[in-house]
Assembly symmetry: C2
Homo-oligomer: 451 residues x 2
Amino acid sequence: MKKNEISVLGAGLIGSLLSIYLRKRGLDVNLYEKRADNRKGEYSEEGRSINMALSDRGWRALEKAGLKEKVLPLTIPMYGRKIHDEHGKTTFIPYGNEDQAIYSISRGKFNQLLVDEAESLGVKLNFEHKCEEVDLRYNHLTFSTPDGITEKLESNVIIGSDGAYSSLRNAMLKQVRFNYRQEYISHGYKELTIPATAEGEFAMDPNALHIWPRGSFMLIALPNPDKSFTCTLFLPFDGERVCFEIIQDKKDVESIFKTYFDDAFEMMPNLTEQFFKNPTASLINLECYPWMLNRALLIGDASHAMVPFYGQGMNSGFEDVLILDELIGKLGTNAWELVFAKFQKIRKPDTDAICRLAMENFEEMRDQVADPKFLIRKRIEAKLHALYPKDWIPLYTMVTFSSMPYSEAYSQGKLQDMVMNRVMADPLITQNWNKLDYEDIINQMDKAKAV
Amino acid sequence: MKKNEISVLGAGLIGSLLSIYLRKRGLDVNLYEKRADNRKGEYSEEGRSINMALSDRGWRALEKAGLKEKVLPLTIPMYGRKIHDEHGKTTFIPYGNEDQAIYSISRGKFNQLLVDEAESLGVKLNFEHKCEEVDLRYNHLTFSTPDGITEKLESNVIIGSDGAYSSLRNAMLKQVRFNYRQEYISHGYKELTIPATAEGEFAMDPNALHIWPRGSFMLIALPNPDKSFTCTLFLPFDGERVCFEIIQDKKDVESIFKTYFDDAFEMMPNLTEQFFKNPTASLINLECYPWMLNRALLIGDASHAMVPFYGQGMNSGFEDVLILDELIGKLGTNAWELVFAKFQKIRKPDTDAICRLAMENFEEMRDQVADPKFLIRKRIEAKLHALYPKDWIPLYTMVTFSSMPYSEAYSQGKLQDMVMNRVMADPLITQNWNKLDYEDIINQMDKAKAV
């Protein structure tokens, strides 16, 4: 039987970057992917790709692998949210300081770049290899290929970066004492496009993430280098109000878009066609534990798939890779079980925290951002941060523009929320926000921490 | 391809009783079981059977199927808990009124009785049929048998009563938007036996469920008709204190039993042998939703496996059967999707409630029952129930001796808990409990309900 040193399952963003890191440690890496090599010919995302937003954690992992400069040209910085109301009026809410941005990037091209990089470093690529079985007792892997060949091999180490529907996790699920939870939210999503204008320009400001928040549903748009925007419509699958179930024909689509997203509608010439061609996809939150069994490990979405509302799915997966690599650096490449055990123990509280935050942020995006008080709240927090940069860091900043562990950001954020709820309870806050006693707010925060 | 009208997966307690009910509705029922027919030759429970405790919900389902009289001789009534302290001193805490009991029964013989009954009614039995695949698009089932034969068939209706590791549920798990959660608790269990005495008598009072509560762990014992007791030891798998991991040899076993369960130890001549022969099994809580897809339905443990600490796993499964049968009675045998949709909607909140209660009762059994105040609390509640039989029903009574929906019992129980916590906060309660103003407690309960 063929023997691999390391087999990585899934050549998506996380699996490719992980392979690069492992190869740089001098290891012999085989990367397996059930899909065909998308670098040959047209890349199809099948209308299911929410654009990625690279932020600090992701950049850090790319930088350490020497890839920052190569990735940068594929990205467009977004410095804040641009909120569109029903009348097309927009309000800009910065994400952080003037120089802080998250970076829109298309999954397809980014993935190609990482696979190219892995290949050039000597990672062995195995496309069209579907993992049919993992035998965890012996670390045996069985793959099938489109021409009907079955390949069975043994691997010293297996790492499953094979996403929310992971084969490795399925094998672990059948082991005793594997805790597992998958939960679909009530909303689905559909990808749509705003093309470049007739003049070949962006139809809107490209340096923002556009949001049309409508209470129980929303539309968002992220810019692409070809001057189009990738839009994602989030609606409940079913229910009494606006939902996917009630949209049956062209008239329904147009009526809903004219009512709720009129300015976007004007920029979407192929709306109906796209709406019925693109699938309605579902959104899952998934947590499990343990992440390892002997010399097999789950990483990225395979161990913690989250809803996309904090833009941290890919970033947290890249951070997984960084942390795993640091442990390999410390403990060497002959202590895999120890490395994996330490990895899951360190990392699990943080991925739990970001899963929860992603769920909670959905409400903020589709509902609260439309509230004028939300804008004031953000301004107060920005001012607190400017005055007391170490004592008050807005939650979004901790998550997006720092490497503070997610679990610390989460608990710090909850305390700040409590204090801010008290501040915002003042009925005259709309007039008074600029005259607040900011030092007192910081003192309240210190008291809250001391409890 | 062979066509079945109804295929029931799993010939355990729930599957057998369900088949009886369906057959009585005039349906053509095929029952599939991966194990061999245990009625032929010695029945082996492989040292993993916690004795069952039949209570009102279970009895009701048996009675409606005309089986109560046949089952009764297999059972031994237990009228309360007998608590053993470290010195062998026992205290009896009744479960309810004098005539209220739960009934100890061995899984093996009970199962044989139900399978016999199903067979005599014309249910087609298919033992040694392992369900390899369920294709939910066409309701196709694929079975394998020990002689290597594969059988594929189509079934108008499939019901999965195939337990916590259900094949049908595994097929549903791969469907989109299936919410699923499995969680193992930190404790495992091991079966042990207290044999009949040399004189052929019960070694302890047979009409009680014996508990040796020791804080973070416990031993329990249920009587058998052959005058033995089936004991179950619940310990954490690992940790700092008493746990399975640290018990390595005869000396360890004896030392722990002499220290914590000395009176039981004296009654267990084969303790060490059993301890190392019997496996350490794990305990799972499992919830999912939906329970149906088209004309396939999950029932019993397949849809809601719970930890055994409320003695309601089998009883709730039998109640599932009763409720499903009532819906079939109302809506007929030509509206399966409607029946299944109503069933899951009605039943899910109740099985969620009993899963939670089972988890919460673990703490009560292993810890609180050893507290003298617990006994007083039970006495106060019993007196409240005697004085105001409709206004105050102890939670255990609602769950065990009534057919009130579990979810109502749960919320009523939480309110009573709140009121009782207040009552028990009196530092002199040990002296004063008999002189309480019981009417005032009922008034507090009314107020709590009104909120």
